[in-house]
Assembly symmetry: C2
Homo-oligomer: 180 residues x 2
């Protein structure tokens, strides 16, 4: 294929638009998150994941898997968050090798407050800008692309299950309590 099928104007428009939206939307949400709650995306992903766990604690490995991070990355990240008092490390009851990531009270309060702002931010810059049909269409589009990507991905673990890769998970609703 000396001459590939270049993109048509419409395809090019969509591709560029997607790329630009991706960049700016991410930038805006990251900014809002930092301004509203003093958290980075990484912080938020970790906090929401731990907050959803049974006792607000999870073995580091499981946590890493649930948000699809390498354990190395998570270990580094937890070290930083530990110094800020958002999480703590604890030993595993069962396995001496395993480390447990524990959400501190401060971390819990932080993520609860952050979630409120973050959901508002996602609505303001993304969801509420679209109508119902758009939301449905984009959902289908993402599903199609994901089906393709997770299908034909032999090199990487073809795991599906457990969504989350994202962030805006609303932190565990937790009975009636909605943060203090």
């Amino acid at each position: 294929m000396t001459e590939p099928r270049w993109l048509t104007d419409a395809e090019m428009h969509t591709w560029r638009g997607y790329r630009r939206m991706r960049g700016l939307l991410d930038l805006q949400l990251t900014r809002d998150l930092g301004a509203d709650s003093g958290l980075s995306d990484a912080d938020y992903d970790v906090l929401t994941a731990v907050s959803e766990a049974p006792d607000r604690r999870l073995p580091l490995g499981e946590l890493a898997a649930s948000i699809r991070w390498s354990t190395s990355r998570l270990s580094h990240q937890v070290s930083r968050m530990e110094q800020r008092g958002l999480v703590a490390r604890g030993p595993s009851t069962a396995d001496g090798r395993s480390a447990t990531v524990i959400l501190t009270d401060h971390g819990w309060a932080t993520v609860q407050a952050a979630a409120v702002h973050h959901v508002a931010s996602v609505r303001r810059h993304f969801i509420d800008v679209l109508d119902e049909a758009d939301v449905a269409a984009l959902g289908r589009i993402a599903d199609k692309v994901l089906a393709h990507l997770t299908d034909a991905t032999p090199p990487t673990p073809p795991r599906r299950r457990r969504s989350s890769g994202g962030s805006v998970a609303q932190p565990a609703p937790e009975g009636g309590e909605t943060v203090g």
Copy 2:
């Protein structure tokens, strides 16, 4: 607002789907680009931008603006690419302060070859997975979100975190020559 409007199931599905698609698609395209052409996304963005300039040369500042990078980031990046012989730095004819980024022959050949593979990759994992209606819909969605974002941007201070802006265009078609 003590109790925000949480996301509905459909909205949540779309949001998570978008986030996951974003992550995996980016990962896949980056992987392909590296495997096919030995380039990083950053390399490719810079190369395509310079390749589209009149004489395949651009003042560093203009180049930075065109791909929406900080000049600092571009300066670092150009330094690295310079060592690999993809681009060269030259003085500006008019302004003694300004540096010009010049695409070398090697850089030109590299980006031409890379573009072929990259377009194929974008088609394979993204465009060709969708039908015409999807492409049109996504284009409109991106336009809506971008209209909102570029509209109401100024309120937030000139803080900055990652960005990657767009690009990934097809490099300058340039007369009949389509690289060898």
